[in-house]
Symmetry: C2
Subunit: 142 residues, 2 copies
């Protein structure tokens, strides 16, 4: 798929590294994790909620991207359409690569950005401590 | 087209600059051009032939690229397919941007590369001086 019919020149395929939702916590913070909820720290239940929210947003965004490509391919009739698609994918890749930062220290920022862009709703954060929900809400206004 | 449904964030569109086949000769060499064919220099007729060959190859390559995208879009079902498409387009863009160098001093190299990759045939060079055809032939073997 997507191989040139005319040229035997190879091109490198950068392996896509999907987000590993298996271990949601970064290694650096794992030593600090507790099973009880303390101010500023994330309980196991909160991590489960955040993990579920990120998965939901990621699935929604990637499925929409795939649908977008499939639906619009028929509109590619000129070379400038091809490069427009390339620019779009470059921007999307950069955006997605940086958007789902699941390190504990960055979770409130990650969640707030996903809410701002419509990929999550505040209701997806139900179950998080009030201080964390408040931080996310403040960040969505910035 | 190719716009995210979920994010209002804009992305830059690098304007594609199609090759300008209108003036085939580079400015630096235009003073040296003659209407008669001399050793190493390109006559007007030779330039017309080379210009026609490059146009033919460019048209063939870009039309095949567009057809490839349209045909294979239905096979994009996973995110890794999307990034594979992106990698493919990155390589193609880089390749096409550098492949059609129409400066007089580089024409034998340009033509030889197009023959090597099957975008042109030696018969497309009929009408060029024997020394130029020989140079192109030698380069296709390198």
């Amino acid at each position: 798929m997507w191989c040139s019919k005319q040229s035997a020149e190879s091109y490198s395929l950068l392996a896509f590294s999907p987000l590993d939702f298996g271990d949601f916590r970064s290694r650096d913070n794992s030593q600090q994790m507790t099973t009880t909820q303390t101010d500023g720290q994330w309980s196991h239940e909160e991590i489960r909620i955040a993990k579920s929210a990120l998965k939901k947003a990621y699935k929604q965004e990637t499925e929409a991207l795939i649908a977008n490509i499939r639906e619009n391919a028929a509109n590619v009739t000129q070379l400038e359409d091809v490069w427009q698609l390339h620019d779009f994918l470059s921007a999307k890749r950069h955006d997605i690569d940086g958007k789902y930062d699941d390190r504990e220290d960055f979770l409130v920022f990650t969640l707030s950005k996903l809410i701002k862009t419509g990929l999550l709703d505040k209701s997806d954060l139900q179950g998080l401590a009030a201080d964390k929900q408040a931080k996310v809400t403040v960040l969505t206004r910035m």
